[in-house]
Subunit: 476 residues, 2 copies
C-alpha cells in the first residue's frame, strides 16, 4: 500500500472539523446507531481507564467507597425535588415497556443519581453513627441532547458521581472543596490541563444545588469547557427525601449533602487542548501507549531488535507497542502513530540494531535524538516526564495569555468578537445582566473564582455597583 498522508483538516484552520475527523481516524470513538450516542473504541476507552485508575485511588484514599445503584429511576422519585426535576425534564429518556408490558410507573434512565441514591440513604441513615455516608459510582448516564459532539456532548456518557451525606454543613462543604481540588489536581497531573476553579452563578448552577463549584478549562478556539463540577446540595434533597438522623444529643436533623462528578467529556477537552495539525498529542500519564517502536524493516533481525527494545521499556514500566505491520510502509506507520498522539516514537533499522542504538522522537516538539539501548529506558522515562510537565506549562500559559480584563462593555464585546477566551469583569450578580450579556455576546458567566477578592467596581453591563469580578467566556 503506497503511503499517502491522511488529509486531516488543520487544527489552526478549522478546529471543529479537525476534532471530528481526528476522533474517528485515530480510532478513539465512532458514532452509535441511536441518535447522539457514541462508541468508545479501545484506544479512546484506554484513556478513560487511565483516568479511572488515577482518580479511583484518590477517591478511596478519602474514604469514599464505590457502589452501584440501579439506572432505572421510578418517575415519582425524580419528582420529589422540584428544581431538580425541572432542570432535567427536557433531557430524559423514558422506559415505558418492560417484559412486553406497558409499565404502571414509567422508569427514567438516570440523568444523574441523586434521587435514587438519596431514597436509599433515607433507609440507611438513622443516627449520627451512620454518618458520613461516602459513596461513589462509576457508571453510565443519559441526557437527551439536541446537538451532540463525540465525547463533549453525547446522549449517553460515562462518569463517576460521588454522593456524600454529613452531620453538618461545614463537613459537607469541606467535601465539596476536596472534590473540586482533587479534580483540579487530576487535570494538572494527568490531563496536563490548567483551568479556573470557582462558584457558578445561580443561573448556571446544578438543578437542586445550593452552590456549584466548577473547574473551567480553555479550548484552543477560545471557548471554555466546564470540565467537572462539585455541588453543595445543602438540605435540598434531605428534606424531601427525609434523610434524617438523631444527633449525639438525641435531636433529629436532616443530613447535609454533596455530589460531584467528572465525565468522559474530559477526554474531549484533552483532545482539543493538546492536539496539533498532525493529530493528537496525549499526555504520557493518560496515554494507553506511551512509546511505540517502529522498526524500519518489518521482518528479520530488525523486528527482533524492535522486540528487544520493547522488552527493555516494558521492564521499566513503560506502556509499549511494537508496530511491525508488513503491509504498511514505514512512512504510513510513522504518521499513523503521530495521528494517534503516542508520546514517544522509537525508530530503528539495521544500522541501529548493529550499533545497539535507536532514534527517539518526541510527539510534542518533534525533537529527534539517537540514544544507546543501555540508556534508552532512563531517557524514555525522563522524556515522558518532561512532556507531561511541558504540556501542562503550555496549557497554563495559554490559559493565562487568553484571560483578559474588561472595564467597559465595549471592550468586553470587542474581545469576544476578536479573540474570545476568558474575560474578568465586574458583574452586579443580577440575572438580567447575565442573560443579556449571553444573548449579545454568547458569553456566559463561567464562575466566580474561589480566590477572587472582594473589590468595588461597576457591573460591566448595567454600571450598578458590583463586588466581584466574574469570569465570562463562550462555552461548549
Amino acid at each position: 500500500m503506497a503511503f499517502t498522508k491522511k488529509a486531516l483538516p488543520k487544527k489552526s484552520d478549522n478546529i471543529s472539523q479537525w476534532y471530528n475527523q481526528l476522533v474517528l481516524e485515530a480510532g478513539l470513538a465512532d458514532y452509535g446507531p441511536a441518535k447522539g450516542t457514541m462508541i468508545f473504541r479501545p484506544y479512546g476507552f484506554g484513556i478513560w481507564e487511565n483516568v479511572q485508575k488515577a482518580m479511583d485511588v484518590e477517591i478511596k484514599a478519602k474514604g469514599v467507597e464505590n457502589a452501584y445503584f440501579p439506572m432505572f429511576i421510578p418517575e415519582s422519585l425524580l419528582r420529589k425535588e422540584k428544581e431538580h426535576v425541572a432542570g432535567f425534564s427536557p433531557e430524559l429518556a423514558v422506559v415505558t415497556i418492560g417484559g412486553g408490558e406497558e409499565l404502571e410507573e414509567k422508569l427514567i434512565v438516570r440523568p444523574t443519581s441523586e434521587t435514587i441514591m438519596y431514597d436509599a440513604y433515607s433507609k440507611w441513615v438513622h443516627s449520627w453513627r451512620d454518618l458520613p455516608v461516602l459513596i461513589n459510582q462509576w457508571n453510565n448516564v443519559v441526557r437527551w441532547e439536541k446537538r451532540t459532539y463525540l465525547f463533549l456532548r453525547t446522549t449517553e456518557f460515562l462518569w463517576q458521581e460521588g454522593h456524600t451525606a454529613h452531620a453538618t454543613h461545614a463537613e459537607a462543604y469541606e467535601m465539596v472543596l476536596w472534590a473540586i481540588n482533587m479534580y483540579e489536581n487530576i487535570y494538572k497531573e494527568f490531563f496536563g490541563m490548567a483551568g479556573y476553579v470557582g462558584i457558578k452563578s445561580k443561573a448556571e448552577k446544578f438543578a437542586g444545588a445550593l452552590t456549584t463549584l466548577t473547574f473551567e478549562s480553555l479550548m484552543p478556539d477560545g471557548k471554555a469547557l466546564q470540565s467537572c463540577t462539585s455541588h453543595d446540595l445543602g438540605q435540598n434533597f434531605s428534606v424531601p427525601f427525609e434523610i434524617k438522623f438523631q444527633d449525639k444529643n438525641g435531636k433529629t436533623e436532616h443530613v447535609w449533602q454533596t455530589s460531584w462528578g467528572l465525565s468522559t467529556r474530559s477526554i474531549g477537552g484533552l483532545i482539543m487542548a493538546h492536539g496539533d495539525d498532525n493529530g493528537l498529542i496525549l499526555p504520557p500519564r493518560l496515554a494507553p501507549i506511551q512509546a511505540v517502536i517502529v522498526p524500519v524493516d518489518t521482518q528479520g533481525t530488525v523486528v527482533e531488535y524492535a522486540n528487544k527494545i520493547a522488552d527493555v521499556l516494558k521492564g521499566a514500566g513503560v506502556r509499549v507497542r511494537v508496530d511491525a505491520r508488513d503491509y504498511e510502509t514505514f512512512g504510513f506507520r510513522i504518521n499513523d502513530w503521530e495521528l494517534k498522539g503516542v508520546p514517544i516514537r522509537v525508530e530503528a533499522g539495521g544500522r541501529e540494531a548493529a550499533a545497539q542504538t535507536a532514534t527517539l522522537v518526541r510527539r510534542d516538539n518533534g525533537v529527534k535524538e539517537v540514544v544507546s539501548l543501555a540508556k534508552l529506558a532512563a531517557k524514555v522515562q525522563t522524556t515522558l516526564d518532561d512532556m507531561q510537565h511541558g504540556l501542562y506549562s503550555q496549557n497554563k500559559a495559554f490559559l493565562e495569555s487568553n484571560t483578559s480584563e474588561a472595564e467597559t462593555y465595549a471592550e468586553f464585546k470587542n474581545i469576544m468578537e476578536a479573540r474570545k477566551g476568558f474575560i474578568r469583569a465586574f458583574w452586579c450578580e443580577k440575572e438580567d445582566c447575565e442573560k443579556k450579556i449571553k444573548e449579545e455576546t454568547k458569553a456566559s458567566t463561567r464562575c466566580l473564582p474561589l480566590d477572587a477578592k472582594e473589590e468595588s467596581g461597576n457591573c460591566v453591563y448595567c454600571g450598578s455597583p458590583a463586588k466581584h469580578k466574574w469570569l465570562f467566556a463562550q462555552a461548549y
Copy 2:
C-alpha cells in the same frame, strides 16, 4: 447498646431465607425501588471490584481490549438475527420517549450487546488485516425477570462481555475454549469454587449461538448454578450483519465470532457456596476486608495497639479494617464481622498490648491462635492462603460427593427427590426426552462435560441408543 445476636435463619434449615436476610444484613445489597432491581452496596460491590481486577488482567493478557458501546439498541438492529431476538423478546426494557418526544424508532436497553457491537464490526472490518477483533466491555445490562433474587437474578445486572471476530472457525473456537477455561480458573483461584465445564444442549444454549459452553457450579441445596458462558457464534451474526473481509487471497468471507460473559450473579453463587449458619464466609482473594482488628476496649492504648497491628498488616499488603466503634459491645462487633464473612479476625486487649501479641481467629473453622506481633503478618498471609485453598477443596469435595450416576429413570427420580445434586445419565439428545425429564423432575440438562468420552448406552428416559452421559440438575 446491649448485644443481641441477630437472628439469622440457619443456612442448614432454610437456605433461601438465610440467603436473603444475610445479603441485606451484611450490607452486600439492597432492593432498588423499581421492580427487580438491586443496589450493590459498597461491601457487595467491593467483591465485584476484586473480581474485575483479577479478570481484567487475564482478559488483557490475551490481547482483548476494553471498550464501551451504547446501551440503547435500535429495535431494527436487534431484529437482524432472528433466533437472538426471539430468545430475548420477552425480557426487554424499551425506551419510547426521549427528550420529551415519542421516538420514531424504539430503543431497546441492551440485554446483551451482540447486535450493537456487530453492527460496528461490519464497518470496521474490511480485510484480514483488521482481524481478529478482540473487544471486551464491563457494563450493565437489563433483562426483565418475573422472579428476582438479589445477585442471582435481577432486572439490571453488571457483567463483562467479550466479543471477538476471527478469520477462521478454528481460531474462534480456540477463543471460546480460552474464555471458559479462564473462567474456570478464576472460579477456582478467586471464588474458591469448583464446577463442570461442558456444552449446553440445543434447548439450553444461547439464542443465536452454534454452541454454548458453560461452567456449572453446585449450590448447597443441591441446585446447579450456570455461572458463566462462552459462545461459539459461528457465522450466525456475521451473515445478517454482513461482517465480511477479504482474505489473503482476495476472497470475501464472513467472520467467525465468539461472545463470553461472567456477571454479578457469580457473587450470589459465592455467598451460597461458602456461608454458614453464622453468616458469610468470603474467600480471601475476593474479600474487600481480609482481616479485621477488633480491640477489646475502644479507647486508649488498646486502640493505639489495634492501629499498630493494622499498620503491620497493611505493610504486608493485607486489606485491613480496625473496628473500634465505641457504641457497640465487643460481642456485637465480633458477630458483625462474622456475619460479614471477613476471613480473619484479630482480637487484642490490654494484656495482648502489653505482651505484643494478638489472638487470630479464622472465619472458616473458628480456630483461635495467639500470635506474637512480630510473626503476625506472616501468619495472616499463610492463613489467608490456607483458607483460600481450603474453601476450594471443600467446595470441590461437595461437588464430587453430590454427583451421582443414574442408570434408570426410577433411580434418576429418586435422586432428584431425595438429595438432588448433579446426575450423570445417558441421554439420546432428543429434545422431547429433555423436556419431559424437566417437567417430571425439574431437572434440566446442564451440560455435556468437555471431557466426556463417547460411550454406548441407553437414554435414561426413552431407552433409545445414546452416545454420551450428560449432566442433569435442578437449576437456579
